[in-house]
Symmetry: C2
Subunit: 112 residues, 2 copies
DNA sequence: CTAATTAATTAGTATCCACTAAATTGATTT
DNA sequence: AAATCAATTTAGTGGATACTAATTAATTAG
């Protein structure tokens, strides 16, 4: 990746449920191949390849070719643009979350 | 909102750059009307209205009608599903100073 | 009152993109 | 060598959706 992908790229990449599921699955496996990812995905192997390409361009996965297999790994740093965006427009980071929620609720959330 | 929107809803809502820009602008203004949002947006008033409807359904904004105006406010809690997702699949390598700042000044939005 | 303003909605269009099926490439096996 | 396997790429299609222009509704101004 020549340059850090934009929030836009990351958002749009993860917005598709199938592709997000692929990312999650790659994330949860140390390494995984396309055929393994295809199994139980509900789409064809070509589709998975396309999604992986998109994920790769977004900096969310990397590949390690070995023989005729290509092993994919998640690249969590690829989520940084999204995290930065969240920091700016969004939700405080983990430790502050509880306080934050306690402060917000009472007004227009219907209490019952 | 009957129910908390899913990650999917939030992601897809924020994936569109125009709509995300609308959200950011609403977020940074205390309250803002549709005409004000339309100004300089590059799209028509109808388009802005549509985006606001989508944002509202995603739990990201709320409206306050007053006379013939409708004032919109951001609803940062709407980002929680996204934050929760990030927590799971998230970002260990987020720059430490950013997290630090977020922790000590969680309410940096209000101080200006 | 009429005219103007604000906003939402509608219908129609164009673009985008996720997907499949098929072809292709490259690597291993027999 | 041919056959098989893993993966990518291509062309084409269908569906989703962002947008515009126009209409509608409601409120305020002159």
């Amino acid at each position: 990746m020549a340059q850090t992908p934009s929030v836009d790229t990351v958002m749009r990449t993860l917005a598709d449920p199938t592709r997000r599921a692929v990312f999650e699955r790659v994330f949860h496996s140390k390494e995984i191949t396309v055929v393994d990812l295809t199994r139980g995905s509900g789409v064809t192997q070509g589709a998975i390849s396309q999604h992986l390409k998109t994920l790769k361009q977004a900096g969310l996965v990397i590949e390690r070719p070995e023989g005729r297999n290509v092993y994919y790994r998640a690249q969590p740093e690829g989520l940084e643009p999204l995290a930065d965006w969240m920091d700016h427009y969004g939700v405080p980071s983990l430790p502050a979350k509880k306080r934050y929620r306690a402060r917000i609720v009472p007004d227009f959330r219907k209490s019952r």
